[in-house]
């Protein structure tokens, strides 16, 4: 794990890790026994790491969600699904690599998969617009979801986007229409669906593949109506207040579970999914099986009815019949 990029708040951990490494190489070169000192340092490291990761602020978790080495959709797809067949293009305008679509199997069972892709190297990042999809991406995702409905296979979506692409071409080709059509269409798709927020859940761009029977979120991911920076710029008129905005917006996994926005939190290895990719991927796999199994054991009409009610009831408001005539 030595060549991983570490975040600012991980400094105390990195410092101890370095001490341990230094001591180890010192003991080796000088051929002396430092076992006792080493085990003391390991204990200390464990205590410090536990403390740091247990008290992460929302803004620090956003940094983990955006970590350059965080696993992306393609990483999970490659690891989890066999016989993956990718679908490309919306058959109307073009393809969009920012949304990966296809079918694949886990333990012999076929799933439809849609996922935002941010891009690992600079070339892929540019092609994917850093995970910001164009209308053709959303329309391609819709094509896949209709095929999933027809072939009666469950849909899994991996959400990881800062937001839908903000640009001239996206507006010309109807970004809002593409997202709205998906949101509405997903309410009546006659097949079980599950969304997993694996990194950034950026507003409409996330919901465009996110209206599903089950929504799970990975522990250090976030889901928000606006980026913390965007909110800070508008409400505080200061982009540097993103940390305050991240707290105020209640965008972390536990907040979302408490508010009933997500159905479950998928645990991550300590420090984030990038610290132990296989463990993170296995947790996702278990969650996929658990929930698609539950959904598939419900009659489709019941499932559709539950899905409708779930979203119809989102959010609370105040209603006082006593005041009805005052207005």
């Amino acid at each position: 794990m030595g060549n991983e990029e570490r975040l600012n708040f991980e400094a105390p951990i990195v410092e101890l890790e370095k001490k341990i490494e230094d001591l180890k190489s010192f003991a080796e070169s000088e051929k002396i026994d430092c076992e006792e000192e080493l085990s003391m340092l390991y204990l200390k490291l464990e205590a410090v790491a536990k403390n740091v990761y247990a008290s992460l602020t929302p803004w620090q978790k956003v940094q983990i969600a955006r970590h350059p080495q965080r696993p992306y959709s393609r990483d999970y797809i490659d690891y989890l699904f066999e016989d993956f067949v990718e679908m490309r293009g919306d058959k109307k305008f073009s393809d969009d690599p920012a949304l990966v679509c296809g079918f694949g199997k886990i333990d012999g069972k076929t799933f439809a998969i849609v996922g935002h892709q941010k891009g690992r190297d600079i070339k892929e990042k540019m092609a994917c617009h850093f995970g910001c999809a164009h209308p053709e991406g959303y329309r391609k995702a819709w094509r896949l979801m209709k095929l999933a409905e027809k072939m009666k296979v469950p849909i899994i979506t991996f959400i990881d986007t800062p937001g839908a692409y903000p640009g001239i071409s996206a507006e010309e080709r109807g970004q809002s229409e593409a997202i709205a059509a998906n949101i509405m269409g997903m309410t009546t798709l006659r097949t079980p669906s599950m969304a997993i927020i694996i990194g950034e859940g950026g507003s409409g761009g996330a919901l465009g593949i996110g209206l599903t029977d089950i929504v799970a979120i990975m522990e250090n991911s976030y889901y928000s109506v606006i980026s913390p920076e965007g909110c800070a710029a508008i409400l505080w008129r200061d982009k540097d207040k993103a940390s305050e905005a991240a707290s105020a917006l209640k965008i972390m996994s536990k907040d979302l579970l408490d508010m009933g926005i997500v159905d479950d939190i998928i645990q991550e290895p300590r420090g984030g999914a990038h610290r132990n990719f296989k463990k993170a991927a296995e947790n996702i796999k278990a969650s996929i099986f658990k929930y698609t199994h539950i959904c598939e054991n419900v009659a489709i009409e019941t499932l559709l009815d539950r899905r409708y009610k779930k979203y119809r009831q989102m959010g609370q408001f105040h209603e006082s019949p006593m005041l009805k005539d005052v207005n």
């Binding site: 839908a164 903000p166 109807g174 970004q175 309410t187 959010g315």
Partner: protein, 280 residues
Amino acid sequence: MPWFLRPKKSIKNLELKRKSLPDGLWSRCDGCYETVFNKVLRENFMVCPSCEHHLTLSAWQRVSLLMDKDSFEEHDSDLESVDLLGFKGVKSYKDKLRDEQKKTGLKDAILTGIGKIDGREVSFCVTDARFIMGSMGVVVGEKIARAVDRSIERKVPLIIVSGSGGGARMYEGINSLMQLAKTSAAISKLNQAGQLYISVLTNPTMAGIMASFASLGDITIAEPKALIGFTGPRVIEQTIKQKLPEGFQSSEFLLEHGFLDEVVARGQMKDYLSKVISLF
């Protein structure tokens, strides 16, 4: 001298002139920078008499423009937003709500109810851009969903007039985003029930509102020169680091790109709607 005979003046002179005018009698048109008598503007449904620029219309003004006289009956007027997040920004959400309510006389950014257009009943919704930019929180989402239900129950067409620069309401966080899901799910029920939905877009209709119910009309029309789109022009300019072309994201731009059925001036709006609902 009547307004239409006065020579065009520079903005600076108008600013000077405005200062000497009593407040609340005159307004300056954003289109031609002429000062116009407020009374004239109101009688003209806030369309500038010299350049036909469409100024912001309040929700109740929109009702009088489009609904038959005394036909509109408001529903769900008692719904009020709650501070779901305990939002603490520069101003608390509670204070913000109270201020906006005082300013507009509305409980939230939307008016919904049943009214008539040339004798035909419709389920009618209109957002009010003056209330936190007409943004959609839980109350706006809920009132639209209920208006859709009414449309289905009464078997009457649905008309939603949108106007929101903010789209979703930040103060309600993710709950606000979920209203995109709520309203879109409701409209999909309307489609199953076979009821007509006409979406009317006014200046500005952006972001979350445009990425949900406003884009889902069977017939979609807009007032002239309204700003309509997903991402706000300033954010796009910052992203691509260049100026946007004139008229980008205008009603006329959307018409040209195939996302509108028609651009309809305010004065012809009622006749247009009446004609469409008479077809089915």
